[in-house]
Amino acid sequence: MKVAITGMGIISSIGNTVEENFHSLVSLKTGLSTISNIETIHKDIIKVGEIKLTNEQLAEQLNLPSDNNYSRTALLGAIAAKQAVENAKISDMNAYKSGLISATSVGGMDMTEKYYYEYFENEACQKYITSHDIGDNSQKIANCIGLKGMVTTISTACSSAANAIMLGARLIQSGELDRIVVGGTDALAKFTINGFKTLMILSDDYNAPFDNNRKGLNLGEAAAFLVLESETIVKNENKEVLAYVTGFGNANDAFHQTASSENGDGAFLAMNKAFKMAKIQPSEIDYINAHGTATPNNDLSEGRAIIRIFGENVPDFSSTKPFTGHTLAAAAGIEAVYSVLALQNNVVYPNLNFKTNMEEFNLTPQLTLKEKEIHHVLSNSFGFGGNCSTLIFSKN
């Protein structure tokens, strides 16, 4: 099982391109700050991974007409997808059987929550009615990259982009498609900020994954896409392969709608499945990019699952959410990009903001930027609804 990644694109609070993101990661520069684009009563309390560009600036980058009806989610998604396609040196999107699988949880909600109550009186904002649907988001992204093939949308909370990558890899492996753009996008919205606040899992400080005194997560916004292509295309067009998707797994925790089971059953099963598919041993993993949201519940559950799989020999691991915040449906997408960058540059990113070991077990994340040979990276993403996904990326 081996599917080639030939392109990637990303926009997040730590950079508007792949290079910028990488630079921030190795310079230990976080993208967390107080929120400025949204008027919310929680403004001064929460920290978020906000992209400091207005919708107008994003639309300009895409050369969209001023009367467009793109939600912020679609804008971010289109920018990242275009970058990925360019990075993969694709000149004719439809030269092969192609598709797009996008993932999102917010969709057009960022606009809907602004204009919903005005829809009857204010004609000017009615254009956002049709852009609410997550399907519309994906279609807009497809239009921006000139794709005429298959388009579908996955919405499984925080594991969405991982599931998009999984399905994309399967479609290439089975020969259904030769080329597919996969990933996710989510913009910040009051809807999500208030929702997470009422579940009492937002921190009023910078998130500290796997720290004993962690208080919760910081939300973020981002978009990231990968281009996956078949061996045929790679050979015919002499494509540079950035890395390979070599294993993946998805399992349900079957415990609670929003909390993870004590022993991380879903996480354990997902990781197990990924190893089976990749046909490698846990000892061959050089770096784990953890889901690590810094909620009391996730880190305990994920930590336990990691110990169940790796035993005494847990490889270097870190969560990159102290850099970007938790970008929900885009999380697995941006973390896939970071995983590929780790493989290409032989580097392990530090887990920022960590001070004290969790009392429940002996797990210390990587605390400094570390250079070493990296052949296999494991990336975890766990979503509400018990949806647990694991991806394994490899150099060869």
């Binding site: 009563i41 949880s105 969709g107 909600m109 809907t112 929550e113 919903y116 109550y117 609410h132 649907d133 997550i134 399907g135 579908t152 949308t153 996955i154 919405s155 499984t156 909370a157 599931n163 399905l167 399967r170 089975s174 259904e176 009051k190 809807f191 208030n194 929702g195 997470f196 606040k197 009422t198 579940l199 009492m200 797994g249 998805n250 399992a251 349900n252 925790d253 079957a254 415990f255 609670h256 709608q257 929003t258 059953d265 879903g266 099963l269 979503g383 509400f384 609804g385 018990g386 949806n387």
Partner: protein
């Protein structure tokens, strides 16, 4: 528009199926619909002693929109502002699949797609792939759509041996009924 209002419909359906699950009434309408659809099939097809290898592949058109609106209402009045955690939980379409997993302890692969229409091709390909690659023994597939009292649940179980052939034609025919 369905003739019967959803609350009445779902209460009657749960009684007909003989459901006894207190957590049922906390679910949002989409989850109740999906849950009961699944229950109708699973109650005769589930092994109570051992772990069941049944993957879940569901899809719909409106995602969790009906509940999204309810949630939005709870944060719309700046004077009277009380976001509801219980409602927020259901503002994702895949939670309904999570509920089915929790009840029957299905720790299997699960996916939720959003399409503008029911796609028998896609569903049959996905389910076949899971069965043929040995990833799972059975696949519970469903199209569960709920928006403002327009509701439809089409749930079916696919496994290697059975009475009705699993192909696009049959799926579409059953859906149309």
């Amino acid at each position: 528009m369905n003739d019967v209002l959803f609350p009445e419909f779902i209460k009657n359906a749960s009684k007909t199926i003989g459901l006894e699950y207190p957590k049922f009434f906390k679910m949002d309408n989409l989850s109740k619909l999906a849950f009961l659809g699944a229950e109708a099939i699973l109650k005769d097809n589930i092994d109570l002693e051992n772990e069941n290898d049944i993957a879940l592949v569901f899809a719909n058109k409106s995602s969790s929109l009906d509940t999204d609106v309810k949630y939005q209402d709870s944060i719309s009045d700046t004077e009277n502002y009380f976001p509801s955690p219980a409602v927020f939980v259901y503002t994702l379409p895949n939670i309904c699949v999570g509920e089915i997993s929790i009840k029957h302890q299905l720790k299997t692969e699960n996916a939720f797609f959003v399409f503008d229409d029911f796609k028998p091709d896609f569903m049959s390909n996905y389910a076949s792939y899971l069965l043929e690659s040995g990833k799972t023994e059975k696949v519970l597939c469903g199209w569960v759509e709920y928006y403002k009292n327009e509701y439809k649940a089409f749930v079916y179980l696919v496994e290697k041996l059975g009475t009705i052939a699993h192909d696009k034609q049959n799926i579409q025919t059953l859906y149309n009924k």
